[in-house]
């Protein structure tokens, strides 16, 4: 079966997957909030014939997007918040789904990201649990949870794989409540300690589930960033706070001498 892929994670094609669909995101990011782009985004889709592409908006309405000349354009929806792009292909003997969440700008809708995460967007789905909060990103070194759902019910005992654009592969099995956790690997090459590194790369969480002789293959696609602990030191933070404590003790004593004690 062909593995669909979108955006950056396509750089992390799994070895041996010939004929993969490929897509490259050429997004115009909004100033100040990285991925929270205002303008249209274009997604290059190679080998994506026959796939149905649907964009879910925060208010749970959705539109079908039509690929043109191997690309699909995401126009602003005018709504603020979490959107989901779902690419689906029916292979006759199964279904393949690729899902990517996008945090887009616009007017507030009053809907929580919770609403979009709760709704079933495909029969077999990997749901971020939780989705990184608004203005937050996945970062290497952090543990994040995901939920496996089939027909909106948790599925246990399914093998799940996380692959990153740097080629790291992690395996896990979903627990009784359908949950699975991964610690995003700190695998960015050429990191320099003490120097901010704004790189991001893609990762994909994938699983296959068999139901009534049909094979359901699903992937969740997202980006992760370099662990800020490479340039943010907790040790120094505690040391400076301790210095503040000592200074506070001294200042307090001085104040008491000058202004009286109780």
């Amino acid at each position: 079966m062909v593995l669909l892929a979108l955006g950056l994670p396509l750089q992390a094609q799994e070895p041996g997957q010939s004929g993969s669909s490929t897509a490259t995101e050429t997004a115009s990011h909004g100033a100040g909030h990285g991925r929270r782009g205002r303008g249209p985004k274009r997604l290059m889709l190679a080998n994506g014939e026959g796939a149905v592409i649907r964009l879910w908006r925060p208010d749970l309405s959705s539109v079908i997007l039509r690929p043109e000349h191997g690309s699909v354009t995401l126009s602003p929806t005018g709504m603020e918040g979490l959107h989901a792009l779902v690419v689906q292909r029916d292979w006759g003997d199964g279904e393949e789904t690729l899902l990517r969440y996008l945090d887009l700008r616009g007017k507030p809708t009053g809907h929580s990201p919770r609403d979009l995460l709760a709704v079933a967007k495909s029969r077999f789905e990997i749901v971020p649990d939780p989705q990184p909060r608004e203005h937050r990103r996945y970062r290497s070194g952090e543990e994040w949870g995901f939920l496996l759902r089939f027909d909106n019910r948790p599925v246990a005992g399914v093998a799940v794989t996380l692959t990153t654009a740097q080629g790291t592969r992690l395996d896990a099995v979903s627990a009784a409540d359908g949950s699975v956790e991964f610690t995003l690997p700190d695998d960015f090459p050429r990191l320099v300690e003490g120097v901010k590194d704004g790189r991001s790369a893609g990762f994909q969480v994938s699983a296959v589930y068999r139901h009534q002789q049909l094979e359901y293959r699903t992937s969740l696609d997202a980006d992760y960033r370099v662990d800020p602990r490479h340039w943010r030191s907790s040790g120094w933070g505690v040391a400076v706070a301790s210095l503040g404590l000592v200074a506070g003790g001294l200042v307090g004593r001085r104040i008491r001498r000058r202004e009286g004690v109780q």
Binding site: P108, R232, A241, G244
Partner: protein, 351 residues
Amino acid sequence: MKLPVNVSVLRKLVQVTAFVFLVFGGLFGSYYYLADKLSGALPALSCAYDYQSSDYCTLITFQHQLAHRVGPGLTGDIDLMSGLMPFAVTFGTFVLLFVVLNKAFCGWICPLGTFQELLNMLGRKLGLRQTEGLSRNTVQRLRPVKWLLLLLLVFGFPLLTGLGWLDHDLRDPYCKICPSRILTTLATGNGGELTLDQASPVTLVLSLAADFLFGLMIALALTLRQPFCRICPMLALHAVFRKIGLLRLVKQATPRCDRCGLCARACPMDIGEIHTEMEKRDVTFDDCTLCGRCVEFCPDREVLQLRYLGLPLFSSSPEYFKRRKRAQLHWDRNTLLHRPDGPAAGRAGAK
């Protein structure tokens, strides 16, 4: 009306409940996403960096909207109306909330205010020597600091960043030094905010200031009441709108007022004017947190009152004063480490 507990105890119960709800609310309800938080414009320092918080303070929203909306709106990078509208909505929400409780958001709700009070109680229980109160001179010198922080760090730098005149790292400089960010994230087990950030010279300076200020505040709070509140920009923001709040501190001065001064000594913010003010009826001063301690420790009937919508909620009285003073003496006597020169009997210390 005779309360089953004194106002200080009642306030402490409200404060601790508010602390748990605001800092850990996400554990009981569904407040994880920013869109789920109660208002996003709370007039108290509950922190947006705390993922479990049920709401977050208006200062971060102001800073981000000035930097990302108002500034770009003014430079024409985005449509002016869509730049100004979110700011107007936040401002409106803040004012609506503020009207309900006025400055009592500080004295009764703010997690950082509560933390400082609890630290001071701890300091007293440990028998640490306490600063009786700051002199009028020191208080006067400290007062402008909160206005500077409000004008420069909450409004000025973020707007200048939005206009493209300052480094992007200065888009939310107050949050970068705010002790509530470190406190509430640590409280939820996240040590990621107590760090030294070497990303740029700006982040390095701001994180140095934040960590130092956090330590300084803790040490000072053990022996001095509300050290950070005295320079808090939220207190300044409250001061701007204090005339529209429905809860007020009201005084009907008597000739005895200028001699006793117990109210001013009870005040955790050392507002001497409560004692000396003989003309104004509304004595909700800029630094007041509407904690009500001055009312508790005023021995004269109905000289000081907390009034809501003009109706008296709590009034000073000799009977209450006597009960309260007894409770204070009992509280002050029970310290873990006794000092012969310990808290003076009858002094209106913290409880």
